[in-house]
Amino acid sequence: MLDRDEDILKAAEDWQKAGRGVALATVVETWGSAPRPAGSSLVINDEGTFLGSVSGGCVEGAVVTEAMDVIQSGKPRMLEFGVADETAWNVGLSCGGTIRVFVEKVG
């Protein structure tokens, strides 16, 4: 039931303490048949290693790329993915839903 993010936040803390740049991406809103519910999250470090998922695989690649920028700039950003999105051909959600993902730096 509530067993999500089991190791993700622990990894975020461990990576940050080990001196890595770390970002956290969290699904904050979903419309339609989104693959993962609000609150689902993904942690990424500056080596590109990530844990968790925000869409079950559909848009993780794009989220990781954006997260790299966020680690650099330190500024959070909101990403939106869905079939109506211009990037849908590349990284859209095949299920037809839309999700908003908040990406923030840790630390």
Partner: protein
């Protein structure tokens, strides 16, 4: 997320205490609200509701768009009594996301053949229960029909403030149980917390149907707001 907040959040999660992370998604400002602080928080109604549903979501407050990320511990179900009902109840509870443990000192009952893949503790409650860390995110059911096993288990459940406590038995059996537990120091408010006869009244007959009625009752206690909860009981 600031490292201090992350650290605090991980500590709450490790201690199996619920917390909600409030994020202003416009500017990234965040604060962590621990369950102990819900009552004095300006967003208490929203926090309570989201936590009860175990669901993260957005609210608007003071012109700000806030994301409430709910971190609730995985609920546990402790079943005392490796009986026929438990054989149906354990896998059903697991499919609903509970961490399930079955306790029964009678090894003929608590056998892996009868409970494939379910954690079993074939010990008396006094030995079996303390290591299970029964807590406020635990539903607790006693279904052996044997006072020697059920009674000490129920006393443990009172002490640990389980969110749900249920015990098998008719009203008559339950009245006797109340007397016995009181004699062992239980308060009337403790006794009143026991759902007995166990389960919602859905006319359940078979062990599997009784398992459904028990899980329905546990779900209602977990999810419904206090007033509707009384009406359902």
């Amino acid at each position: 997320m600031k490292l201090a907040i992350l650290h605090e959040l991980n500590a709450e999660r490790a201690a199996r205490r619920p917390a909600i992370l409030v994020t202003d998604t416009e500017n990234g400002e965040q604060r962590l609200v621990k369950s102990a602080d819900f009552a004095k928080d300006p967003l208490r109604a929203e926090l309570d509701k989201q936590l009860r549903m175990g669901k993260s979501g957005n609210v608007e407050a003071g012109g700000k768009k806030l994301f409430l990320n709910v971190y609730a511990p995985t609920a546990k179900l402790v079943i005392v009594g490796a009986v026929h009902i438990s054989q149906a109840l354990a896998p059903l509870a697991r499919s609903l996301g509970y961490d399930v443990t079955v306790v029964d000192p009678r090894t003929a009952f608590a056998s892996p053949e009868r409970f494939p893949d379910i954690p079993l503790v074939a010990e008396w409650p006094d030995t079996a229960l303390p290591p299970l860390n029964v807590d406020a995110y635990t539903a607790f059911v006693a279904v052996t029909h044997d006072p020697k096993i059920d009674d000490p288990a129920l006393l443990h459940a009172f002490e640990r403030n389980c969110f749900y406590i249920g015990a098998l038995g008719s009203r008559k059996t339950h009245a006797k149980r109340g007397d016995r537990l009181r004699a062992q120091g239980a308060k009337d408010t403790d006794i009143a917390r026991i759902h007995a006869p166990i389960g919602l009244a859905i006319g359940a007959v078979s062990p599997s149907e009784i398992a459904v009625s028990i899980m329905a009752e546990i779900t209602a206690v977990l999810r419904l707001p206090p007033k509707e909860k009384e009406e359902a009981a």
